[in-house]
């Protein structure tokens, strides 16, 4: 059995609000989740779903109303356990009067990194996140993307066994996102456990061994991306080009982009549709399987959650 890197048991967080704080708003409800050692785990959900709340609970930045969590087999209250954890906060902001080198040196000191090792390690991390030439610039002059990179560097500075990243792709340009993806994959190759939250589902599909989908403070699904979605072919998509004026009932169902059309048909009707299109003068460019994506699964959950919330509101009235 694979050892668990992160496990939560009925982890719940409620915030008091309203007059005299008498009402309670549940940000996270009975989260039961397990992340295995060495895997890349994606935590996906819309804004306000509870992703950051769960991560902050694990990082002991906020305290649970009930439930418990363990990282590397130790309770999260164990301060020494945090030596083995790297954390990137959402939209990180650091002491802007420091340079990137100084900030990393500061965190290295916090982690008791030996003096002889600190300078070399700081330089190595700056290089890893593509900031080796910007190490001497004060952070107040950094762009959002550069701060995100510094945040990545401080998260992995001390060779943690578990790396928890809150929206690591946020604010990054395509090159930056690619670099963060590469770092995550490198961490996985090194045998580290990575848990990250994201809105960018393609990144989760690309990187994650497993994902947890959280909506409205509740974990709605957990598993490998291909397990979560229906892997069966949902149909076929025909991409074709049509230059001349022609008419076919199938064209009404197609989506047009310039001279190109996309048409989805059931698998059994594929050949018939191709024949009809060719007869209408279409040039078939490609035929591909249509599969449900993680995004569709995710959106279905969000929609069903909204529908439930609306139903509750209506019944409440």
């Amino acid at each position: 059995m694979t050892a668990l890197a992160i496990e939560t048991e009925n982890l719940t967080k409620e915030y008091p609000h309203g007059f005299l704080n008498l009402k309670k708003k549940t940000s996270l409800e009975s989260l039961n989740m397990q992340v295995e050692t060495g895997e890349v785990f994606g935590f996906i959900g819309p804004n306000g779903a509870g992703k950051s709340t769960a991560i902050k609970l694990l990082m002991r930045l906020i305290f649970p109303t009930s439930g418990s969590a363990r990282i590397l087999g130790k309770p999260i209250s164990d301060i020494e356990m945090h030596r083995d954890i790297g954390y990137l906060p959402e939209q990180p902001y650091f002491y802007d009067y420091l340079t990137a080198s100084e900030l990393l040196d500061y965190f290295a000191r916090i982690h008791d990194v030996a003096a002889f090792d600190r300078k070399e390690r700081v330089q190595r991390m700056l290089k890893k996140v593509g900031l080796e030439t910007a190490g001497k610039i004060q952070l107040r002059k950094y762009s959002k993307g550069m701060l995100q990179r510094v945040g990545m560097a401080q998260a992995i500075l001390h060779d943690p066994k578990v790396v928890i990243l809150d929206e690591p792709m946020s604010g990054l340009d395509p090159v930056g996102r690619r670099e963060v993806r590469d770092i995550i994959l490198e961490l996985k190759r090194e045998g580290r456990t990575v848990m990250f939250s994201t809105h960018i589902l393609s990144d989760a599909e690309m990187l994650c061994d497993r994902v947890g989908v959280i909506v409205g403070g509740k974990l709605r699904g957990i598993g490998a991306p291909e397990q979560l979605v229906d892997v069966k072919t949902q149909g076929m998509e025909i991409l074709f080009e049509l230059t001349g004026q022609t008419s076919s009932p199938l064209l009404a169902k197609a989506t047009r982009t310039g001279d190109r059309y996309r048409l989805q048909v059931p698998e059994a009707e594929l050949y018939g549709a191709i024949e009809k299109l060719r007869a209408a003068g279409a040039k078939i460019l490609s035929v591909a399987q249509v599969r449900a994506t993680l995004e569709e699964f995710f959106m279905n959950l969000v929609e069903s959650d909204r529908a439930q919330a609306a139903a509750v509101e209506v019944s409440g009235k």
């Binding site: 990082m59 906020i62 301060i79 954390y87 906060p89 990180p92 650091f94 009067y97 500061y106 965190f107």
Partner: protein, 258 residues
């Protein structure tokens, strides 16, 4: 404890790189110059004018730093969320608070000492023949620093559970009341109800007694400050700061960061 020292040194570095601190130091030097001029036009009482003005300036500048930066020690970190990455590391919350407190107290020590030396040089300038009692100026500066350490502890405490504006108001309020603790103790109890007497007495002992730190008159007249007062004030500050910081730690250790 080592981590608290790392946080303290970083807090000191922040203050040093903060231009407000340099401006305040510049302001102090201007005050020193003003005191020299005032001393020259006040025949016979140069020392009194210089020492009184100088110590008042050191105290006022120190108070501004202690209250405004002290309140921001935690509030700014929470507002800008700079402490998220730090507290996720193996740093206990009390180590963070102690580090922030230590960093600002260190900053105030350097700042106050620099201004104290400036004041002493001004004194040497107008009074070529020094006497042993003139060393009371340094004791007075030391007492100002002790007082500022207490103010920082209070500012830190209030910033742990309230807004920065309220924390400034509370700290300033307690400081002002703390200047009149002796008056509170000497209230005419005969005309007060027993309940009210008990209340004012208790309050006067709970509030920090800032009056004890004021030896300005002794320094202005070159009178030596008794060693027992130095020991008493040092011990009082250490104990009071420990109690205030303990309460601050208790408040902050349960606080959810937004």
């Amino acid at each position: 404890m080592k981590r608290a020292a790392v946080v303290a040194l970083n807090t000191f570095r922040e203050a040093v790189r903060d231009r407000v601190l340099y401006n305040l130091l510049f302001f102090a030097l201007v005050m020193m110059a003003a005191s020299i001029i005032a001393g020259q036009i006040s025949i016979g009482i140069e020392q009194t004018v210089i020492v009184t003005l100088g110590l008042s300036a050191i105290s006022l500048i120190g108070l501004l730093i202690a209250i405004f930066i002290g309140v921001g020690l935690v509030a700014k970190e929470m507002d800008k969320r700079t402490l998220y990455a730090l507290l996720a590391k193996p740093v206990r919350r009390w180590e963070f608070l102690l580090g922030k407190f230590g960093g600002l107290v260190l900053t105030l020590a350097v700042n106050t000492a620099a201004m104290g030396i400036g004041l002493f040089l001004a004194l040497v300038y107008v009074k070529p023949t020094l006497e042993s009692g003139d060393a009371a100026v340094f004791v007075a500066v030391y007492f100002i620093w002790l007082k500022l350490a207490l103010v920082v502890a209070l500012a830190l405490l209030f910033s742990c559970f309230t807004t920065p504006l309220l924390a400034i108001l509370f700290t300033t309020g307690i400081y002002i009341v703390g200047l009149y603790v002796q008056e509170l103790r000497d209230l005419p109890v005969a005309v007060m109800s027993p309940g009210m007497t008990l209340f004012t007495k208790t309050l006067s002992y709970l509030l920090p007694n800032f009056e004890n730190f004021n030896v300005m008159a002794m320094a202005a007249h070159s009178r030596q400050v008794p060693g027992s007062l130095i020991a008493q004030n040092s011990l009082y500050t250490a104990i009071y700061c420990t109690i205030v910081l303990t309460v601050a730690v208790l408040a902050f250790s349960k606080r959810n960061l937004k």
